[in-house]
Symmetry: D2
Subunit: 158 residues, 4 copies
């Protein structure tokens, strides 16, 4: 009977999420890696990928390049959720904390500071070993937010 305005669903986010999922669904590299969007909400994005031999380096760990790919994509997607504005990775820095072993790699990105021009996004990567998460990398990214009119000229990855 009494509407709770503070918990009403974020209906504006539905078309934004749809557009993001469609765009990411067209990324050949996302499919080649075999990664999926496991969570998507305003200001956050989680990507995950299961272990496969072709994602590893010579000692049986996930290759650092897989970790970097997850960070690149998750931070840009997280930035795009803020207003549905097209987003383009400008730069990021990542620290590898420990070898990425186990059966699954998960990257969680969260917007630290939204912005019309540049958004700042943090990301952490965890590997799952027998069901337990271990922190394997941390990153900090700057994402260029494009105006719609610009984005028709400079395609964005999201």
């Amino acid at each position: 009977m009494t509407a709770k305005p503070d918990v009403k669903p974020d209906l504006d986010f539905v078309p934004i999420a749809k557009r993001i999922r469609e765009g990411v669904g067209l990324q050949g590299f996302m499919a080649h890696i075999g990664a999926e969007i496991s969570e998507l909400a305003r200001g956050t994005c989680t990507l995950a990928v299961d272990r496969r031999p072709e994602l590893l380096q010579q000692h049986g760990f996930f290759h650092g390049g897989v970790t970097a790919f997850l960070i690149d994509n998750a931070t840009t997607i997280a930035a795009a959720t803020s207003r549905g504005q097209p987003a383009l990775t400008a730069e990021y820095k990542l620290n590898l904390l420990s070898p990425a072993s186990g059966e699954r790699l998960i990257c969680r990105a969260r917007v630290i500071k939204p912005g019309r021009q540049v958004a700042v996004v943090a990301a952490d990567v965890f590997c799952v070993i027998d069901g337990v998460e271990k922190h394997t990398a941390t990153a900090l990214a700057s994402i260029a937010m494009l105006a719609e009119s610009v984005s028709t000229r400079i395609p964005s990855p999201v």
Copy 2:
């Protein structure tokens, strides 16, 4: 009789290069991307990969994750050439400068400062469009150099 000591071949580098190529040859992810070591010398490494649909994002450019993979691998390999010491990516930062279009992506890494503990390596990525190179990314990396005794415990990617 007229030996030119300043241009004599770097014979010590032959076994180092052999070991690096063997290690990289065992990386499942390197093969999955389809990248190759196109140049390898003391203090430098060049990796390259040809355009294929599975390396692209939805607008037809090389995915930023491919660029990041090349930087990750090339900087670590370049650091390993200095003394043949096992090397492990500690961290890097990359700036994407322009969309990576064209038929080929090339990453050139060069050691700025060798070190027994940490080496600093710079890398630049170029895309080749109709045979002409365009600067598409630049990066700065810190590579942890492992002692042999340590490297048997903590496997290095190179």
Copy 3:
């Protein structure tokens, strides 16, 4: 009346903290900035500085260089708390999130991953405006941990 073993004081940290404070006390630049160690514990360090005209840029905000100094020093000090090992800044990346206004600048650094060779440390900087903190910068640093024998040759800042 009875000792609580889980909250017993970290007595080993006392000489470490003493040595760190003495070293930092000898930094001419720390005094020139007018910064102080406001908190020091195992794995963390907080530095703070009050507003003074000579720390500002032309629009009345704290200069970005003051923020960078606090990050540089706080991350290295935090790394040194882990084992009392001498520490040397290897690299860091910082993102400025908003203009640093107000009466005081505070930098809190925390070790994300200790290491015998390289420690990874995160830091956040807040400006205090009428007693309220605002997030003004975030950073990620790699700190080279020196062996005692090495540190006598290569002086460390902490």
Copy 4:
């Protein structure tokens, strides 16, 4: 006999340089450090500072915070030279390569990629020991370029 159009002076740069020098001249922190703009041209800026006890750490080297300040300011100034657009440091990463000893510290910044929204700028820092330069730090920065209308609201450091 005829004017050489390819060497004609960049007259448009004169008012830009004037405005930059005036803005930097108002930075209290620049004066507190005692740094000066030693070179300023389209796309580049060089800052320098002489050794003084208050710029050092406890082992007699220039403090890393001085190096960071020079990088912060020089990269932003270099970005502002491109079109005279107000510029604001968004982020940077620096690697310290060797202890900064000697009598003078010099930071040379150069624009790698100008941009209306984000400029990418590289910088290298050298210390001068008995007149000889030694490479002591390298950095990579992203500078947010502000529209004039925005800059009246969000003050820029340059």
